[in-house]
Chain length 356, copies 5
């Protein structure tokens, strides 16, 4: 999740509604497909240009799917459907905060998701434009994000084709939001693994993994707060494009976003708590190391000193008090015994302090 | 309290109101029992299917108890009582946030509890559906959670049978909420034990116990915030199913939930504070260890050096200044005396610094 | 302040309004006294039962004081004055959050205080029931809490006897709230003592004292937040039992509670800050200890090594390069001089680093 | 800023509106001076008692300045101007939170300031009573706080004498509030000095200075939050005593108080951050010390051991393998060479690890 | 970003609306230029004084640009356009919080920016006065801040010259706000660099860089909170000077400010987290150092002691137990073997503990 600390920003001072040059260069070809369905039928085809979109007809529900950010084609949205240039700017400069804006004739919705992709995470912005009789969705790139929804429409299971476009928009938002759960579950699992590893033995790799997770969580949090705002705004809004039944369902999505936020916060607390655990464990281990050193030093320093004493070269013949013990028959055993006694006393003292 | 960091989530993209496949497999048989009571009488029996539930009759109060999550039987709730599929989804996918939803004809209430169970904690979600003349409760598994309430109804003590179903719903919520208290008391006791143990001697087991408690508290906190919201929403709501007397009682439950939240927060602060205490105590003990090491090293290093000096093999006959002390009669006692003097000076210096 | 992390809770599932069994056993005899006063006179007497309370008469103000929690007598409050059973439950299960509840005919007020008592703190819950013409106060145990108020009434100084019962209730709340100030002052003083002690030399006893204060502050905080809410609610409420003049005075109590909260928060921050100070001071001292050890080791290890060199037993007669220095007349002085030079170089190096 | 953690509190239970005994004793004589001015003229004189204050006359603006807290004189405020006893209590018991209270006929304003005074800070409470045609200000002690305002009035520069009493009250509040800026600037400077000192070498004195600043900031914060509330309340209030022009100016003071709060918060964060920096720097330095110790020990311990080996007294004549090296002609040079090699290997290894 | 912890404050007590003396001295000459444009044309010229500004004419849009803070010229704004003295004070005393004030005939807007300038950051306050038909902008100093806007006007591209002055004001605010993005991006990059460096090897320079960034972020945060408030206030305000289209665009700027705030907060958390990482890494490294020391000491201390034993000078001829091993043929090899065995045991023990 490296690339998305902030939205793709234009050079300060460019005219509002401008699609930044960097985007123009990077954008691939735009794939357009149109799904038309009503209670009876379902049709899906690829379009070459927006001009092919048929005019709205009562009862017919059109879902126009755009994939990729071709600025030329996108500008046609303004001409054909009266979309505001600021909307196009937000569609193209991905990394926007999720939001909903009510432009009388249509609702503009941005929703972000995060998906697992080969071990790393990938952010993806989905833009929705909900008109009367037409839903336009814009994705960054080809993906299977909406596949379950397409499948349901295609198969016509249950009341799938009977649902209005507002319910379809809900289904898309719901799908996008639910993609956070497996990501969070994985992060939660990783945190538990790190905790176990830390409690056993603190490791520098654990710390790196922890910091990587913390950064991910920071980004997830930045993503989920506006998500909740957006869903709640969509549910509370008074647009005629959202039916009462759909608002009921949105209440359910709201519950999910709140739960996502709570899990993110819980994970963040756990991560912070694990950083403390790492330091505590290191301190603890340091104590262990220092104990070993101190025990060894405290036992052997006095012994080595004693050995040093009797290694001195004072001449025993120089006087009666000049190291007479060197010539005693029991001098050596006595010296060894004294050393053993000192060692034993030390060991006992450490045992008493609970250092073993 | 391992299993419940988040709700049981369905695969992203499944149709709303779907009972997830994993649940279908895991769900045991559904036990149905019906309690019918009014001011005069009380009757309790097991039902084989929801079809046996008698139609509502004025004055008769029915309490339908479902235990377990059999999706087939639950789907009958929709057919028989007009329960929304989203409600069933929430009933089955346990781990939902406590909430209350007003569906005109009935109130849908989710409330979670935590209970002590053989040393560990067990979360349990209770779902309530309050109709006019009928209360449906759904539990995850067979338990004695509602036993005191059944007992009161059965014995007909006080005005137990005279109470309306809203008061029965209150009684259930009250019981469920009050189960937090013994759990919190135990956690609070454990924290005090850990504190005492830490102040005496910091231990790695204390740290592990502390982190386990912290995780428990994190989950409890996640559970209690929405609990308060739910109870407050239930009391403030304008459903005709909740009488004014019951709202008065709900104010009391609200007090309890607020108190639970406060105790949880206090425990969390205490836990954080104990983590700091652990580190402080470790630092303190490390200081003690280092003092021992330093005292020993500082006393014996100079002494060993002195012994090393007189252990050198310079030939006393090589010159007048070549270690003449080795041949002095008082050389050895003088050496020992010098060593003793150095040791005493050191000890006194350490005493002055307060290192003993 | 050990006992009172949470309210005394009943077994989950007991009927609402039940006085818990534990309380029934522990409750001592209930002392009842009645103070009757009006602008002209003042009368005070002990009652044997609530039956002796005279009926309300215009102009006459009655203050009924109950001390202790005898459940039998308390139940008479319901019969005689129509007090709700939930109120009695809150009166008896002490440790409730301060609150005010408006039961049309009377106001129910709970207010908690903390008092110094032989070095430790004692929490005490005071319950007030304000009727038209009657104020009932319930205390946990005999104490001199209300003595200044009694004194003022008894002496009839100023306009003491002219005040209404709402002003009397205010006076009681004011007195109870003001008892927090001396407690907080003492805690604040103790914190300053600990800070001074920590800046001088960090001590394990300081840490214990600090943690004990932290726990006390945590409890005080839990007590004072709802206190503010209660006083503010009482002032904003629209009960006819509270006159406008009394509301003016309550604004003053509100100021005090806000100030108490601020002092508690300030003390808590100071306590947290002192924990950090403790760790900083320990680290600082550890640095001092390590410096001593390092200086000693760094000076004596090279010296001891040098002494070891010339203590080797290579035979000077084995060759020209085999320790010829042992037989030089100036060998020994040179060795000592070299050692002194090494020591001086080391000391100078440490001085330069500022380690002395 | 030692004295003023909390307001001067009376013994719990004293009648409301009582001036505490401690204050009565400590209060010095009350200095009264009256400034009368209108667009044309300006007059200033000392009064002996409040009785000398002339009655209000249209167009004439009176500013009554009281300095000191003589309770007898203050009580005359009640008799003469109908000031509420609770107001007097707040005027005298300094250390009150800034606040504004609207008593119909007059506004009661408390505002606190902090001033530099010989290196330490001094808190001062200013109480204002704004009547129609009369402004009463009460200060704790003689000071030059209002000197610039007097000066402007005296000189009659600009439209100074044309301003209403509400604008005079504003000017006083503005002056009082602006005194926070130089204090904050000094604290901010001190924090930067400490930071520089810490980055160079962490020092115990820095820590003490930091804790002293932290305590000061804690008090400033406690003072500034209610200040903002007060100014905002004054601006929003609907008293007829505050003209619309003055409210415009108050918006400016509000900006200042918000900025003061922000600077206080920023300083507090910086202070917390510096405490961390202190610990980090200590850890860093400890690392340095430990490296020195480890390098020395790791080089000299093996060398000393080698010297010890050849210092053993095994008899070379006891056998062919019994220390034959002692009698080799190149034994000693070889031993020294081996030691040098060990030392060089160690030094190289440390260099590789970047420990030098 | 050193200078600007707080606004440039005047001496407490100076009359409101006074331009402080310090500013008067520092202020350079004021450059005045006037841009007049309408749908058809565009004209730009330098003015010598405000007197040259032509009167407003319908359809003609005037943009008056003032650069520098010459108090004399600024005072003409009051005379010529009726600007309030408090506004001039805020224009001159730079470092104000961003804000919008509605003076009926004109809107007063302050907006701050931060720009990269030769490695360091430079704060700049832009003041806007939006009249009907006239926009006055005041900058601190000559800069290319508005160059892209001028360019668009000059070239007349798109509908640049058709836009109203409210949209021009919007364009200026948008430009100013967007300048935060590159600054934040750079800070974000620096934080990542520091993190990588810390994970590799903690360094004192990293710490200094981190603290410098933290201080910068603290200031950015102080700047961005009121920015959001200002933009939101401008959008919500009911001034007739802001058209509905412009309010739509302001919603976009609001999104940007919210995003800036979020990035600042995220960076601040990351910075805090990195401080912890620094300490963790130091602890970790300390553990490594201590391990080396302990391993060396634990291996060589016993060996040195053994060498010391056999270096003692007990006379082998004094008795049978007096160091007979010295005269054994295999004594020396046995001693070396014993030492090797001890060393091997130690090394194996450390390996088992994972210390290598």
């Amino acid at each position: 999740m490296k690339r998305r600390t902030m939205k793709r920003f234009s050079t300060p001072g460019t005219a509002p509604g401008t699609v930044s040059a960097a985007v123009e260069a990077a954008a691939g070809p735009l794939a357009i497909s149109l799904v038309a369905f009503d209670a009876e039928g379902y049709e899906e085809r690829r379009l070459a240009s927006l001009a092919e979109v048929p005019p709205a007809s009562p009862g017919k529900k059109l879902w126009l799917r755009l994939i990729g950010h071709d600025p030329v084609l996108l500008n046609q949205l303004t001409e054909r459907f009266g979309v505001h240039p600021l909307v196009l700017e937000d569609v193209v400069n991905v990394g926007q905060r999720p939001k909903v804006e009510d432009y009388e004739s249509h609702l503009f919705i941005i929703v972000d998701t995060v998906r697992r992709n080969d071990g790393s995470y990938q952010e993806e912005q989905v833009s929705l434009l909900l008109f009367d009789g037409l839903l336009i969705s814009v994705q960054e790139r080809e993906s299977d994000l909406f596949q379950p929804i397409e499948e349901r429409l295609r198969s016509g299971r249950g009341k799938a084709r009977a649902m209005g476009l507002d319910l379809l928009a809900y289904a898309i938002i719901d799908t996008v939001v639910d993609h956070y759960f497996p990501v969070l579950e994985q992060i939660s699992d990783q945190l538990e693994e790190i905790e176990e590893s830390l409690l056993e033995s603190p490791d520098h790799e654990d710390l790196e993994a922890l910091y990587s997770l913390k950064r991910d969580l920071l980004r997830l949090r930045k993503a989920t707060w506006p998500l909740r705002e957006m869903v709640s705004g969509l549910g509370r809004g008074d647009s005629h494009l959202m039916g009462p039944e759909t608002r009921l369902y949105l209440r359910d999505v709201l519950d999910h976003t709140v739960q996502i936020m709570e899990v993110v916060e819980a994970c963040r607390e756990m991560a912070t708590s694990l950083t403390d655990l790492y330091v505590s464990s290191l301190s603890n281990r340091m104590n262990g190391i220092m104990k070993v050193l101190t025990v060894i030093a405290t036992i052997f320093m006095p012994l080595t000193f004693l050995a040093g004493i009797w290694g001195m070269n004072f001449n025993p013949e120089a006087g009666r008090l000049s190291m007479p013990e060197l010539n005693w028959a029991w001098g050596y055993p006595f010296a060894l015994g004294l050393m053993a006694a000192v060692a034993i006393v030390m060991v006992v003292a450490f045992k008493r302090r609970g250092w073993f």
